[in-house]
Every structure is written in C-alpha cells, then in structure tokens.
C-alpha cells in the first residue's frame, strides 16, 4: 500500500477498496516504526489525523471527494497549523502553537488531505543538509549516515521512505529540489506567487515559494492543484488562472526544445552525475524533443547574489522573534537590550545567526549600495538571461545537484562548500521561475536528480515533461532498502 502513489491511492479510496482511516493508521504505524532511524518528523498528529480521516471517509461516501480526499500527507514545519506546534526547526519557536492555518494548509485541508504531522527542516529553512534543525539531523533513507538535503529534508526523507504519500515543502534557493534529488523523489518549486505565502514562516520573502515533494510528477500535479491560486492575504500571489495540471500533463506529447546550459556541466559536477543527466536527456530525445546547447551568462553569480539577497531579507524577517509576544523568552535578562540579546542568542542556532549577521551587514549604511543594490542588479541580469533563453527553448535541463548525498557532518564546518551545493538550483528562485527535480539514476546506490526549469507559469509544461519521462523510466519506483515493508 505504501508503494502506491497519490494517484493510485486516490483511485483505491474512490473505489472504496480502502478507507482513509485504514490508510492513515497504516502510515501512522510506519512512522512510529521507521522514523526513529530517520527523524523526519518533528510532530506527529495522530488524533487530528484520525479525525480528519473520518471526515474524509464521510466525503468519500457521499462522492464529494477531490483526488486528495483521504490522502495522508505531511507539512513542512514552516507552515502554520492551527492548534499544532509550528517550530520552523528552531528553539525560538519550540513552544509556538500556531493560532491559525497557513493558506496552503487550509487549502489542502479543504481538499480533504489528512495531515499526519509536521516534518523536520533546517532551522528557518536555512541549510542544505537538514543539519541545522533544533530537532536534530534528518537521515537519508538511502544511507542513514548521509544527509537527505535541505531545507525540506524531513519532507523528502518521509516521502522517500514512504512514511507518507506526499508532503509540502518550501524552496528559497533549492530547498525542495535539492532534497528531492538526494532522496530520489520528485520535487516541484512552482513560479513565485503561484502558491500563497500566507502562513509560511518567512525566510527570504522575494524568493520563498511553497511546493510539493511526491513520488511522481503525476502526484505533484494533484497536490499543486489544491495549493495553487491567488490569495487576497498575499499581495505577491499571482492572479493567473490555475489550469487543470493533471489534464495538461497527460495531454498528447508535443515536441519541445530543451536547452542545456554548458554552465551546468562544469568541473563542480560529478562526472557520473553528468553522465546520468545526459542519459535522461536522451530519453527526451527519444520522445522527440530537440536538445539545444545554451549559455547562461551570469548564472555563475547566482550563489553570491543569493547569499546577499536572502540573508538581507531574513535579517529583517526574523526580527519579529524577539520574545515579546510569542516563542522563546530568556529568563535571565536584566534590561531590554539584554532581553533581546539573550532571547535571540538562546533561541537561534549558529547558521541562522550567521545569516542574520550577513544580512544586517549588507543592508547597513555604507554597504547597501555595494552589496544589496549590486546583488539586485545582478539578479536582474540572471533573470534576463533566462528570459532570453526561453525565447528559443521551452525548458532548461541540467543536474539538480553537483553530487549525490554527502555524509552527515561532511560540510558543516565549511559553509561555502555547503552553499555551493545549491549552485544549480538558486537561479530559478532568483528569477521567480518554476523548476522540477526528478530522479534520473543512481551513483553507488545514491539517487541523483534531473532538473527542469521553465518560464513563468509553465508548471503545466514541466509537469508534462516529468510525467512523460516517468512513463519511460522507473527511477521513481525505487524504494530505499529497509523501507520496502
């Protein structure tokens, strides 16, 4: 049952071969049995999940169900969930019970999805390995001595180990696609503004975007369908009409042109990884796609640009965690300044502190022009390069990460090496573009990902390319050893 995709489970639920309650109990049992070795969940909501499953079964009985009704999912712990702890992987929110649901959460609730719990993540989504969480490291189910990637590492590990059939994630510089690649699943970061940010704890507001972690592109379409759309509570959400993603992705294949940037195949890329990506491209060629070499002139600047813009916004976004109204509050302060320093000093971990400091620095008087403003200008150039490329190609393909999953602790002492893990994924959020990562093979039993990036609002195209690729390949069907049953 756990090997089934959302699409299969939805059919079984609809045909009443299984009830949502049975499914929910089944997955809850897997979590309690298997998650001890992974640490992918921060909170498991057994009671709430069972109650939601009962309501879902009622809906299924009346026939008013959506494809997600009764499907067990999990939310990254960055999404506010009413009455349930929302920690964002941080000590500073360890005692925070959200009084409201994020738009993503309420939309999935309305679609009938059953929330099994909240998944582990890098603290405030700052990390590429899930090692910065206050709740401990998450282990990669393919090799528990390795990282699952981050920051949506809990969601990725849980879906890969089949503890849940799909999960939400957020992507600021690669936080959905990179862990999806390192755990062998499908991750979609939609266009900036396609999904509401309301109720998603902000890291870098101009980059943050909610998306999906699922086994297949078919499932991504089902989840995105429920999540996407304009939200009057988020001014940056897009008013564009939400198409029927499932229908669009299964429509007849049209020959597309796939651009392959030479920049993505440089020395940083593991040669075997490069080989697997090339093989994936040949699958598309067999489908009839045309492959075109392209060059993105400024993409090599995306990591430095990102590490100016994202910390700048984060330094301001994280100011509200001051201990005054919610969250951790230091008991040892004698005056106001000390109150702030101790509360935040105790509440935040070292990576978060590093980024707050960096961000504060690049926004300060005298440095703003040289760093923040300069970075925004280069960001524009990176966007223009993409826009230029999309005049001649439909999607851009390349590796998601330079290497498969690295060992826990391997890069924790070298932030620059850690940051470079996102070198292929950072471009899309800087330009606000949608991008999809899906498994395209293994190196030493560790999965690697193929990344497809499209123009604004081209989720249909990406999901269709993903769907057709997964009809031709079976990399997405592999299950990590030890989690088969």
């Amino acid at each position: 049952m756990h090997e089934a995709t959302i699409a299969h489970l939805a059919q079984s639920l609809k045909d009443r071969k299984v009830s949502s309650k049975e499914l929910t109990k089944y997955f809850l049992e897997r979590i309690s049995r298997l998650d001890t070795s992974l640490n992918s969940f921060i909170t498991v909501c057994e009671e709430e999940a069972l109650a939601q499953a009962d309501s879902a079964d009622e809906l299924l009985a009346t026939g008013d169900a959506t494809p997600l009704t009764g499907i067990p999912i999990a939310h990254k712990d960055i999404f506010c969930t009413e009455g349930v702890k929302t920690s964002c992987g941080s000590r500073i929110l360890d005692n925070f019970i959200s009084p409201y649901d994020a738009t993503v959460v309420s939309k999935l609730k309305a679609a009938g999805a059953v929330m099994l719990g909240k998944t582990n993540m890098d603290e405030f989504a700052m990390g590429s390995s899930n090692e910065t969480s206050f709740y401990g490291v998450v282990h990669n189910p393919w090799d528990t001595t390795r990282v699952p990637g981050g920051s949506s590492g809990g969601s990725a590990a849980a879906v890969a180990a089949q503890l849940v059939s799909g999960a939400t994630g957020t992507d600021t510089g690669g936080s959905i696609r990179q862990p999806a690649a390192l755990t062998g699943i499908t991750g979609l970061k939609p266009t900036y503004g396609r999904v509401s940010r309301y109720g998603m704890v902000a890291f870098a507001s101009s980059l943050d975007q909610a998306g999906t972690l699922t086994k297949t592109a078919e499932d991504s379409a089902l989840m995105l369908q429920a999540m996407a759309g304009a939200d009057e509570r988020d001014s940056t959400s897009l008013s564009a009409i939400v198409p029927d993603f499932s229908k669009a992705q299964k429509s007849a294949w049209e020959n597309i042109t796939i651009g392959v940037p030479d920049n993505f195949f440089d020395d940083s890329l593991d040669t075997k990884n490069a080989q697997l990506v090339k093989e994936a491209l040949s699958v598309f060629e067999k489908l009839g796609a045309r492959i075109k070499d392209i060059h993105l002139k400024h993409i090599h600047l995306s990591v430095p640009v990102y590490y100016v813009v994202a910390p700048a916004e984060a330094s301001s976004n994280l100011s509200r965690f001051d201990g005054v109204r919610f969250g951790h509050r230091s008991e040892h302060a004698e005056n106001l300044t000390e109150f702030y320093m101790k509360t935040r000093g105790e509440g935040f971990g070292s990576e978060v502190k590093r980024r707050i400091l960096t961000g504060t620095y690049v926004l300060s008087a005298g440095y703003y022009d040289a760093y923040y403003l300069q970075a925004q200008k280069v960001r524009q150039l990176i966007s223009q390069d993409f826009a230029e490329a999309f005049k001649t190609v439909d999607v851009i393909a390349g590796p998601t990460t330079p290497t498969p999953a690295f060992r826990i602790g391997q890069k924790t002492d070298d932030p620059i090496q850690m940051y470079l893990n996102d070198m292929y994924t950072i471009g899309a959020p800087l330009a606000g573009l949608p991008a999809l990562s899906m498994p395209c093979g293994f190196i030493n039993n560790l999965p690697v990902g193929l990344q497809l990036t499209g123009p604004h609002l081209s989720e249909e195209k990406l999901l269709k390319a993903g769907y057709y690729y997964q009809q031709e390949t079976d990399w997405h069907n592999f299950v990590p050893p030890g989690y088969e049953a």
Binding site: G199, T236, E313, S319, L363
Partner: protein, 482 residues
C-alpha cells in the same frame, strides 16, 4: 549678531480610515488595550501585510491639494529597529520613492501677507504601538491597538523662518487635512503630531546651520513654544562660542526646555530596503482624475470666497473657515436672510455659539441650535426687534431647551423685545443721571469714557431691552443741555 531661524516640519497625520493600513483591524481610538490587534498587527510568524487602498486615495487627495507630483510608482520600505511596541521589528514606511512629492502650500501670515511653503514629500507609513511604563510595577505594558494605524507623514522644506510661521503652517496643514476629509486632526488622540527640524544661521549665510530635531510636539502652542526655547538655546550656545550637535531633542512642556534624546552617533541605522511583501503602488491617470473630481473646495479658496460673497472681514473669514463644518454652518445660516449683513451671523457664531459649544465640549456638529435659527436671530437684531445683548439671552434660552423652542416665542415669553419708545428710555436715562452724580461730574470735566458706564447702567435698568444707540443719543443730549 543677527540670526536667521530655519525650520522645517514633519507632520504625522493619522488617516481617517475604518481599518488599518495593512490589516482589517479597526482603528477606533480608546478601545481596551490589544483588542484591536489582529495576527497581522501582532507580527505573528507567517502573516503578510495587504495594503488598504483607501490610504492611496487619501494621499493622492493631499498631493493634489498641495500641487504635489503624484508618483506613478511608489515603494514601501522596511525601517528596521527593535522596540517592544514594534511587533515586526520593522516599520513599513516609504523611503526612496514616496507617494507624493514636490508640492507647496500658501499660508497667511499674521501681517496678512501670503507665504508659499514648499512640501518636500508626503509618504505613507504605519504607526507603532504604545509602551506603558506606569501601572505595571517595574514592568512595561504593550498596547498594540495603534499598531498599523495609517499615517501620512508630510515633510516641509526648511522654508519657515519663525516659531509663529511654523505654527501658522501647522494650522494650515491641519485645516487642509480636515477639509480633505482625510484626517480627523484630533490632537488629544494623537491623530496630528509634529516633529520640528530647527537650525539657525547668520543673516545672509547661504549654508544651513546644524539642526536639531524636536520630537512629538502635539499642540500648536507647544510647537511654537518649543521652537522659541530651542532657538534661544542655539543662539546662546553659538554666541558663547559653542557648537550645535546634530541630535534629537525632546520638548518638556512642564519645564519649557528641550533636552537631548539621542545624538547622530547613537542614531539607529535603520537598514531601509524595499519591502518584498508588498508590490509597488502603481497610480494611473484615471485614478488621479477620479480623486481630483472628489476634491472639495480648499480652505484658502473658501476663505477668499466668503470674503467676496459675504463681505466679511479677512479675519472673520479666516476663523469661520477653520473647519469645513463651521464654514458650512455659516453659509447655511446666511441662506434665507438676504437683508442681514453676514457679519451679524458671523458674530453670533463666533461669540454665542462658540462659547456654548466650548462650555459643553461639543463640536459644531453637536450644536443644539440650527443654522436657520441663528439666521433668524440675526434678522431680529438687524430689524431692531432685539438688542445684541438681548439676543444673547434669546440664544441661551433656546440652547437650554435644546433648540426645540423658536426665536419669536422666546422673545415674547421673556419680554425681550427692544424698547424703542423714546419716553420710556428718557425716563430710565433720567434715573441713571440722578443716581450717578459723581460720574456726571467726571463726564462734564471731559472724561469721555464715563459715557460707556452710563449707557451700561441704562441698559442694565432696561434688562438689555433698550436700544443702545438711542440710549447713547438721549444721554448725550441731556448731559450737554443740563
């Protein structure tokens, strides 16, 4: 040495919206602490601001009324600093691109001359909450009801040259925002606050002197007093060979002095940057024209019109247009009284009505006497039915009945009809002459002023019903013939 005073004002006007600038919470004043603070106002994790479009209309209105350029694209920025009553740790304001800029306003100086004051910019921002340091035994209370209340910060050029000019400018802006209906201007409730940038320089110097910023001046009187005392301090300092430090100073009204709050070195680095949660505010021609069509008659234009149409003095026109409601009341009262000089109506409003309103702490909207009644009363003075002092009694009597009685019946009931019968007046004059021999001698010795006292005595005798002009006339003729 001759010093020139240079002043620029930053006026914070609370915009009269029903809900806050970035949330749906009400903005009503005086509610139970923290009862008007939503999750957005509280800066909870994950919440986002959404712009209340009505503040854009209001800012455009102000911009059009002051000949400002309306920015086709303006941007909200974050001003970052930590304070317990600032929930997000930043204030959303406008920094590099304000919504309106480069305008001006004409003010009427005390000598009647007109001076044009430049308006650098006006930008939209949210207010912070309130910290309450009393009543909590060593702790601080935070009330976030005011958090997110919309403000328009109006920044003037350093064109003001005296405390009086600054006061006049502030009053003119106050009048303007109330005319435009964009603010209630209530200073007790903090809806209209002001900071003043003050510097001095030697007469003839082109370069500006080092300025200090005086914070939170919440009455017209305090603005003038604070500037005066700060200018004195600066002059004393420079004349003693000292230097002005650029700093923020707080005015202490009790001690009538200013004292430093924080210097430039200690000043926060606010790390302004565009707020990524809000889209730029885009304003097109159509919106500007729609707002232009809604513009009411502006105070300066209305003052001029009242002088022209009603033949009243500049100062009366100025006072009657101090608020649109008073000017409306005045114009309503003059409607059905074509033969009464408008000045009589103006006098009744400025004296009787304003005294009655002050006494009961009411605004003109709460007047118990309708404009048409005031018109009728003025008519009765004009046609000599009642004297001006009897009119005052009539006014008070009508007020007492809450406006339910009418002018004629009050005059009838209280016998207030003016005495025009000369014989009756003569008899009263004779009585007064007999009873005040001392004053009569004084008058005859050339002390002209005594006549006023004697007229007063006759009026008192007549219970205000005699016509004072007749009394004066009869008294003079009797005194000169005897």
């Amino acid at each position: 040495m001759a010093w020139e005073i240079v002043i620029g004002l930053e006026i914070h006007t609370q915009l009269a919206t029903k809900s806050k600038i970035f949330s749906g919470s009400p903005t009503q004043y005086g509610a139970t602490p923290n009862s008007q603070a939503s999750l957005v106002d509280l800066g909870y994790p994950g919440v986002l601001p959404v712009l209340n479009q009505s503040v854009v209309h209001m800012a455009i209105k102000f911009g059009l009324a002051t000949d400002c350029e309306i920015s086709r694209r303006s941007v909200f920025a974050r001003k970052n600093y930590f304070y317990p009553d600032l929930p997000k740790g930043y204030q959303i304001s406008q920094y590099e691109l304000p919504i309106v800029h480069s305008g001006h306003l004409d003010i009427v100086l005390d000598d009647g001359n007109i001076k044009t004051i430049g308006i650098t910019r006006a930008h939209l921002e949210e207010d912070a909450g309130k910290s309450l340091h009393e009543d909590f035994q060593g702790l601080s209370g935070i009330d976030l009801n005011r958090t997110g209340t919309p403000l328009l910060e109006i920044v003037s050029e350093p064109d003001l040259r005296s405390a009086e000019e600054a006061g006049t400018y502030m009053r003119s802006i106050h009048k303007l925002v109330r005319y435009l209906g964009i603010s209630d201007g209530n200073m007790q409730e903090g809806s209209f606050r002001c900071d003043a940038n003050v510097s001095i320089r030697k007469k003839g110097d082109k370069k500006l002197g080092t300025r200090t910023e005086l914070k939170n001046l919440n009455s017209f009187r305090f603005v003038e007093k604070a500037i005066r005392v700060e200018v004195e301090r600066q002059i004393d300092l420079l004349e003693d060979g000292g230097k002005i430090t650029q700093e923020t100073r707080l005015y202490d009204a009790d001690k009538n002095e200013t004292r430093p709050m924080r210097s430039k070195e200690e000043a926060n680095d606010y790390r302004y940057f565009p707020d990524p949660d809000l889209l730029p505010v885009i304003i097109n021609d159509e919106l500007i024209e729609n707002v232009r069509a809604e513009l009411p008659e502006l105070p300066n234009a209305r003052t001029k019109r009242l002088i022209r149409d009603h033949g009243i003095s500049d100062s009366m026109a100025e006072e009657l247009t101090s608020s649109p409601a008073i000017a409306d009341y005045f114009e309503e009262a003059t409607k059905n009284t074509p033969h009464v000089p408008a000045k009589r109506i103006g006098n009744l409003i400025q004296r009787e009505l304003s005294a009655a309103l002050n006494r009961e702490g009411l605004s003109i909207e709460g007047s118990k006497i309708s404009p048409s009644m005031i018109g009728k009363l003025a008519q009765k003075i004009e046609d000599n039915t009642v004297s001006a002092s009897a009119a005052s009694t009539v006014f008070d009597e009508i007020w007492k009945t809450g406006g339910s009685s009418n002018v004629d019946s009050i005059i009838e009931k209280h016998g207030l009809k003016q005495i025009t019968d000369m014989h009756t007046i003569e008899a009263m004059v004779d009585d007064v002459i007999i009873n005040n021999p001392e004053q009569i001698i004084q008058f005859k010795n050339g002390k002209e002023k005594v006549i006023g006292f004697l007229v007063g005595q006759v009026m008192k005798e007549s219970k205000g019903k005699a016509n004072p002009q007749n009394v004066n006339q009869i008294l003079r003729s009797k005194l000169s013939s005897s």
